[in-house]
Symmetry: D4
Subunit: 205 residues, 8 copies
């Protein structure tokens, strides 16, 4: 199924050489290329063969643009709490941007400081779809879900320790959200959330 999106390479577990080769092959065919979970070494290898490759370090994403990027009118909100969740939030935000979406980040709005989140309600309500990232108790999508009327894609992160069990606490919390309109992707899967949000966002274009 052609969806008009970049070709994607999941870099984790691949050597820089393997990623370079796959990326070059795709790029030669005229595709935009998106590499996720990419280390700096992956990027350097790709850069050797694709001069216009760009690296987003927090998001750990490599992008190679073959075509002009378009921007949607509808906006995807990417909402997250602490600094520890930023790699996943940025993976979602950068992926969504590279898929042609207009993206607005709202960070540092953890549920333990509800007033900051409340001060963003108008902005939250302006989005067509929201990606909501949270680790630990994973409560953010539920609170946001109670404030807006658009669909929410929730991303649990593996940030935490002990009874966090590598993201299980946030995952279970999100699956049990008492706000309706929340659906969930795998732990740390910022890419997948962006993909779903992107499919939703373009319905309105």
């Amino acid at each position: 199924v052609r969806r008009g999106y970049p070709e994607v390479i999941y870099c984790e577990g691949k050597t820089p050489e393997q990623v370079r080769e796959i990326a070059a092959r795709m790029y030669e065919k005229g595709s935009d290329v998106l590499g996720t979970r990419a280390s700096l070494d992956h990027f350097k290898a790709v850069k050797e063969v694709c001069d216009n490759a760009v690296y987003y370090d927090v998001a750990r994403i490599i992008s190679i643009r073959a075509n002009e990027a378009k921007k949607t009118k509808g906006v995807i909100g990417v909402v997250a709490a602490g600094t520890s969740d930023l790699p996943v939030a940025e993976e979602a935000a950068v992926t969504a941007e590279l898929m042609g979406n207009t993206v607005k980040r709202i960070y540092d709005v953890g549920v333990a400081g509800i007033h900051r989140l409340m001060s963003k309600v108008d902005e939250l309500r302006s989005f067509r779809v929201i990606i909501c990232i949270a680790g630990m108790e994973g409560a953010l999508p539920t609170v946001v879900g109670g404030l807006v009327a658009c669909p929410i894609i929730a991303v649990p992160t593996s940030v935490g320790y002990g009874a966090n069990f590598h993201g299980l606490s946030a995952l279970l919390a999100m699956l049990n959200s008492c706000s309706s309109g929340v659906s969930v992707v795998n732990i740390d899967n910022g890419f997948g959330a962006a993909y779903s949000a992107s499919l939703i966002n373009r319905i309105g274009e």
Copy 2:
């Protein structure tokens, strides 16, 4: 947040009398009412006070319409495999309909008989959003996801035994789907899937 949907009562764990009372109160205020996980006894109690209450027995849903139902142009596809998953599929389908969506059911398309599913590809591609219900190995959303370009809400069911662990197998399978564009709700949560799908569907109206 007012979203223009019926008021919802989650009937499980409530007595028929409690449900009757809550329903009556909502109905008097002019709301449409939707009761999920409702037994026949719940329905009979509601029927005593709301003459136009309707019961969907497979879906275990009570509906009381106070207002004219509209229907969307965009269609939500509800896709499921075996007969055991039908209660959850119907909970999703009926909820989506009662929220004003045009719904099309495609049942009996399990991945173990892939040819039946393949014969429905054109229809699958006509939907704006798909709700995909599956128990046991929970593979249906992945296969469907590879055939269509619209967002998919996946619902794992608790149907199975042994290493199924009450729906855990299907839940984990769906969270790990290798098809992009799939997000997941709680085990057996047909209602929640319909709610998310409905929020997505109306983006295109």
Copy 3:
């Protein structure tokens, strides 16, 4: 260690006759008696021998007062969301009252409707200690924790289905709360929360 509290009987798994006999024995020694997880049948059996026994049906508690109850100046807040969590909330509230505390209930303040909770901030800040009950995603203690400066005892409930795993989702969420000052008791353990809160509350008397 004598703490001046009623003697407690955990009624679950005991026959009405066993509870009656234990209660009678305690009562004859001049103790106040508190029976938790008590059915109506437990209560009827106790009532036969202790005329002043009282039954709290939502809390499932039997109380027999031998002595005048005192009330603390400091107030324990009991904060909960939906109606399904009320049995546990009431187990906590009634236990705390029977231990001599002044108790204030704030119910129906789920995190999915954050505005109702925000309208209670002044009251929340007036408590010396808060017991916070929540099922499903268990987010309430974190949000409340961000609004107040007193200790919070969090009680996960087993309310939910599917990936809730009988309260595990709420339990893990609470143990991973990103609000400091939150400690946790066992799933559905309203009694234990009240006991801890009561020990804390009397520090200020």
Copy 4:
């Protein structure tokens, strides 16, 4: 909510540079600063910019005092068994001290050598609140809970192997304590226990 405590940096997963920068910013605003889960490298980076930074190596804590420390009259007891639990115990003890509490450590009182613990009963009874750290079978809070009448904050540690499952055994044991008055924080969360204990301790000041 201002509670009059130091600002806290959770150093794990942050680079020395990030911690130095955050600490400097906080310190310049006149706050006391507390860095938890800090390595020696974190400390060295902070020390470059804040001359009066102090490092507690067992506790893995960095402290920068901007203001005079006060000491409570009420004492927090920090009770632990073996030497393996000391990092967590010290995280709790040092945090509590830096939050202005008078702290008394009682170490090396494991339940497998009950006589040593019994010889401390009078001291245990002199505390206003107790933080009780234990790994493996996590029994210490229950035994201590039976000896005192003050609230206990229990901290399970991840010390152990095999069926310990990284602290799960101690966590479950503490949540199931048959002593009342025990509430629990996350595995290895000495900081969180100190925070709760500190909120409790100042009720009596």
Copy 5:
């Protein structure tokens, strides 16, 4: 391997008729017979054909003696805490007696009331082997293990709720006991503990 013990029937999941038939067959061959997990109905069926059958109701054990019972000089101590653990404790104690051991019960010595346990130290030290039963936090074998120099067989019970997970908390606690000399049998397996203890006890005869 003939060990000179009664033939054993595990009655759970068998009909009264099945148990009667098996018991009769064994008895006719001149064996002593021991039925565990036996209901009153199982017993009544057996009694019809074996007049000297005896029922131990708390232990849920049926015994039919074909031969004179001997008693060991060495004593097996059966140590337990609350009344809820008594069915398992009695399954152990009665099984051990029916296997020819001299048994001494020490009940009501939970670790939350350590003084009662301490008052039994001399008696505890007189046993050749101890069976130690505990539910919830499962701490009793560790504390007892620190007081005696004989081997301990620990039996976790499924008594509890919530994070007890049907005996998992006690099982893990016992496997992680920081007292040496403790080995563990399955949750609720009083029979198995008695069997092991009996093999140990007769080493000294």
Copy 6:
């Protein structure tokens, strides 16, 4: 039981020296030798003493042939999806070949791109037994099982992250396959699958 297969060394956790010594000993006795989970270092050590040792790097297998290899008429199909599963698929394929089987690989047929799999149906139906490798949602054996009438040995892989739990998602999915004729081996156990498939394949020779 002699089955006419090579002697097998499981190299993981053994030093190169240990593997060299075991391999040499077996080889001297005239056996074919197969080393699984072998690193390049293991191979180099073996090569020192067995000149005809061969290394299969993707499969991580060392082979030393003492005897002429035969090939079966019946073919074992080795079917897998993505490149990440290739090490396990190759462990299966190479093992099967070294056990004397004719093997046909069908790779890159993930269920998210069902058309590629469908284009292989005739070939799939020509196999006597199929080894089907899949990670993540583990759906491949179910879909293949619906297309063929031969037995399938399914191998879950540990490829994935988050709610994949090191292969648990694929393992559970395969155990719950709604296609009949699928049986399952341990996560990543390509060797074991090849062994079972080989025993099946030679039934038809």
Copy 7:
């Protein structure tokens, strides 16, 4: 894929009326019909419309034969230990027979009494494929696997209590079998084992 086997109805969770209707429909088309997990009530309903329906009560199977049964020359061995595993063993054995296989049962050969099993070695070696059923520690397939050179399908059963976790102990044991040639089906899935064994057995016909 037509495999020449009876049509199968999984009766659990279906009403007697539903099963009757499905069975009648299949039977009218000339198919053999096999109903698994069937209660006596299911059977009675089927018997009303299909006079030649037969009920296997231990196996909980309904069979309706429309066609003459053939018998294979190769024999499937069904090997099990205690009486508690018999329902699953019989589900496997009867299913295999109804699929046209010659079946030989070897029961009462638990690994705790290894001599009985050893006395059957010759018979075990005469089978073309073995179905091996075991609950509790699930060791039987490993021991049998060491004695024979044919493929083994292992079926864990849910028989047991406590740390058995509804068959998890046997399932994990079988997946970790140190005998090669063992593959595993879902807990209690006698039907699935028979299906796999049947596909294997007919390779040799």
Copy 8:
């Protein structure tokens, strides 16, 4: 409780310096010293101060003898299967020897090669108590238990991969052993098994 055994240091997680210091202190008091989970570095540090320290490398044990070792008449059998379990088996065997027991090792008797085990039956029956070590499916104690009449201490090991879950498979199998007379210690806890076995063995001296 003085039991006449060496003082024990659990070296894992301690620095060589810490171990040296603790060992020296104990040794100076005239105690025998036993260090478990000791690396070569731990040993070298100890050797610097205690000239007669001995290192058992497979067992990872340091021993310092201050007193003459005695040997029991009764023999402890240490029974294990593959080479991978040897470190745990040797931890058990060496510990038992250093506690004064006569020890006999029977290795390489895995249940997948039952004939080797059967050839040892007479020797197995000569032991007073058996320590039985097994990983993976953990079946060895059950089979041995059916062959002997002495108590068995079972030790699951963490050897394996995939669904082994770090020893969980063997642990659960052993707890569910259908042989009576088997009790279990923590995963990899060879030391604890030796301690229990030693307490049992000296009953007969």
